[in-house]
Amino acid sequence: MGHPDTWDWENGDRQIAFGEWKKKFRWVEEPYASPDGEKIAAIVNVDEGEFNVCVNGETDETSHDKIWYLRFSPDNRLTTLVSDMGEWTVAVDNVSWGHQFGYVWNTMFSDDGSHIAVAVQQDMTYGIAVDGILWANTYPNMTYFTFGRDGGHSAAVVQVEDFDSGDIETFKKGAFTAAFDGQAWDKRFVNLWHLSISDDGKDLAAEARLSLYDYAIIVNGIPWEKTYDCVWQPVFNPATNTVAAPVRTGGRWFMAQDGGILWDRPYTQLWHQQFSADGNTLAAIAATGFGKWTVVVDNRPWPVTFEDLITDMVLTPGGDRIAVLVKEKGKWRIVVDGTRWSNAFDMAWKPVFSPDGQHVAANVEKNGSYTYVLDDRLWPCECEAAWPPVFSSMGDKILLKYIHDGIYHRRVVPLADFSS
């Protein structure tokens, strides 16, 4: 998230006639609203093989052969992946990076949006470009790219030993490692997956397979002493820099930390662990039995389970409150601190806490149209689209961004006026 305290929080409703755009172009792709709601943008096709981006009704003077993956950065800059004459690059606020590449994909942002990275293929080698600058070293293969929260570091799994398809012996010896800011670790692995960069940008952790059967957590190229039957992505504690990861042994999952078992209670499944910002709380999504999904906080499961799915776990900075989305019998609900909201939805997006943690809101789909829900109260509007709500820094207002009857609205609403 950028800096919401610098945004316009005057009560009111500003509008843009988004529906009119369809009359001006051959087609209009999915619109996106900027985090601050000041802009709505969509890729538009202006002619055969000619694409542009329409922002608040205006197109850029330069069209491209192809544009995809329009996304706003957290600091409200418009990014797209653009192609001309068979080469690709990133355009930021319609200004293309100076370098062209063979292909670019998977745009990533630092938390504050000030840095932008993409995966790059150039001359059939792979690397990450940060703010237009490609790693000094590129590799014949690259997966699981990641970007540090401050945008100062990037990493990916890379192939460092050549082998042909069918060469299972070389594969078994280990042909992959991690590249941190383009520099490969010395050690090779059968597989690496899901890298995590510490908050201070100094350390890199990963899931690994040391053989076809032995899994480990790797920190800065060094495996934990113990191996496991399986592991999931490690995360760093933002306060202490310890590493926590779910590990499977004897058919059950446990939470491990720095090579030892942290949570001794076994789980049928355990993943998506998150530390609170102060590092004092560790929570994870878990199954306490077959088809019994819940949230575990510091090894204590919520007293309620859900059958289908739990996603999008959010912690308040102090970890004292947790919200998730759950799916039950095909319907989505928001559950806060183990309490299921009464409203059920066709779809729900990641819940958002107010800065003081007292309120929870989300954009949702209900009966085929979109709206908002705040503390289990519905916003009385049947919209064609809605983007994630944002609370003001004081927590007394909420910014809603939605399309209704073809009109895009940027609306600031005092919480007291949010009614159903």
Binding site: E29, E30, Y103, N106, Q121, M142, Q159, G166, D308, E365
Partner: protein, 443 residues
């Protein structure tokens, strides 16, 4: 010890020979007993203690029927040649035995489950063969080609080493191709909140990109609100399920489901693939702890059925050939989609010729269960092991069929080989091939 199949010659396979060369009997014993103790339970015990060795399963198996009813190829014979021996000897078997067990479990059984219907007790011999595959995986003795496929899965989460850029690039290429036919057609990538995530298997972008083109046309004409991921998670296939690498299977399915969750779709529509459906709908989800798949899983057969039944796809002119239908094991015996497949086939084709036997009793293609993925070394064995299928196909042709519909990738490839090897003279199509050809499209 169980008898080997008659007249069988040893096939060189680096995956097996290299793996067996590293084994000793103590390691074998340890792995067998660890798997049996820690990874099996009441199910295996019940099957082992219930089987009365009656042999009624034999007539179900295409390998048995196609190999002069050699008892070694009967389902119970294959258990006798593998798992029973391991149990009886408490894991004290030789490296040579393990090699043979790997050959039996991987290349003489398609895990098609036809035999479970013939067993008076419903014993699932496919499960027993899966336990054997799990053991040979843990011993590092998996056939080379399918191990390489599993390796691809482990690196890219797809089965054909399709790299991160190659996937979206291929979709954009197919979108552009299709726009020559329907100018405003889109393959919407990463469209969060679409109703449907469409997932395919890696041979489609690698070799059969026209299938993606055709699917895009069908989606566009039907007005479906759909998307495809630009990230990993687009490939629903799962050879790890067949190599016994359950941990990798779980990783693959987690990637697939979490991609759907990230894209905020309501259901996953899968292309015409059988084993992937089994993995997503039945096997991988359970390993991860889900009682039911976390998203509604719809196979292409059911999707086409809904589109045609609801009138979202209209047939302009029926396909002018007599078609017959192969029921893929995983979606027919495994999910009961055979009547919906018939509805679609009859809706699109001028004439439908029933195959005998059919529906859940249909013969397997002999490619499934990972057998075709064991590669060229076993091709002749696979073809000779399904003479009965060739006879079944020829009979359908004799009754007038000109085109064979196989709504599954592995079936499609395996049947293509059988048609060619036995000179049967049927053309072969996916349902999507025919729907695309006969449907009403914008002028």
């Amino acid at each position: 010890m169980g008898e080997a199949a008659k007249g069988e010659t040893k096939i060189t396979d680096q995956g097996l020979d290299g793996g067996v060369g590293r084994l000793d009997e103590s390691r074998i014993r340890e792995v067998i007993n660890t798997v049996l103790k820690n990874e099996t339970g009441a199910r295996l015990k019940t099957y082992v203690e219930t089987c009365i060795h009656c042999g009624l399963c034999s007539e179900a198996c295409h390998y048995y029927l196609s190999n002069d009813k050699d008892p070694a190829f009967s389902p119970v014979g294959k258990v006798k040649r593998t798992l029973w021996e391991m149990l009886k000897r408490k894991g004290k078997v030789t490296p040579a035995f393990i090699r043979e067990a790997a050959v039996v479990a991987h290349t003489e059984c398609n895990l098609c489950k036809r035999c479970a219907q013939y067993c008076p007790f419903g014993i699932d011999i496919a499960y027993l063969m899966s336990v054997v595959r799990r053991i040979v995986h843990r011993l590092g003795c998996t056939p080379l080609y399918i191990q390489d496929t599993a390796n691809s899965h482990s690196v890219h989460m797809n089965q054909m080493w399709v790299k991160g850029d190659e996937w979206p690039d291929t979709l954009q290429w197919q979108e552009e191709e299709a726009q020559a036919e329907i100018p405003a057609l889109r393959i919407p990538l990463e469209k969060e909140g679409a109703d449907i995530m469409y997932s395919v298997i890696a041979p489609e972008p690698k070799f059969q990109a026209q299938l993606i083109y055709q699917a895009a046309v069908i989606m566009d004409v039907a007005g479906v609100n759909w998307t495809m991921p630009a990230s990993m998670g687009w490939d629903n296939s799962d050879m790890a399920m067949f190599t016994g690498d359950n941990e990798l299977m779980g990783r693959l399915k987690r990637t697939h489901f979490e991609t759907a969750a990230r894209l905020k779709v309501k259901k996953i529509i899968m292309g015409e693939c059988g084993h992937a459906f089994r993995s997503v709908y039945d096997t991988g989800n359970r390993w991860l702890g889900w009682r039911v798949p976390p998203f509604q899983i719809v196979h292409a057969i059911e999707f086409y059925y809904d589109l045609i039944k609801s009138g979202r796809i209209k047939i302009k002119t029926k396909y002018p050939h007599a078609v017959t239908l192969h029921d893929p094991c995983n979606v027919s015996r495994g999910a009961g989609l055979h009547d919906k497949a018939r509805f679609v086939a009859k809706a699109v084709a001028a004439e439908f010729v029933e195959m005998e036997p059919n529906r859940e009793h249909n013969y397997c293609c002999a490619a499934g269960g990972g057998a075709i993925n064991c590669g060229p070394p076993y091709k002749m064995k696979r073809l000779q092991g399904n003479k009965v299928k060739a006879e079944q196909l020829f009979a359908a042709k004799t009754r007038g069929a000109g085109v064979l519909i196989a709504p599954c990738h592995n079936c499609h490839s395996g049947l293509h080989d059988i048609l060619h090897h036995y000179g049967i003279g049927l053309d072969i199509k996916f349902l999507g091939d025919i729907i695309y050809e006969v449907m009403e499209k914008p002028a």
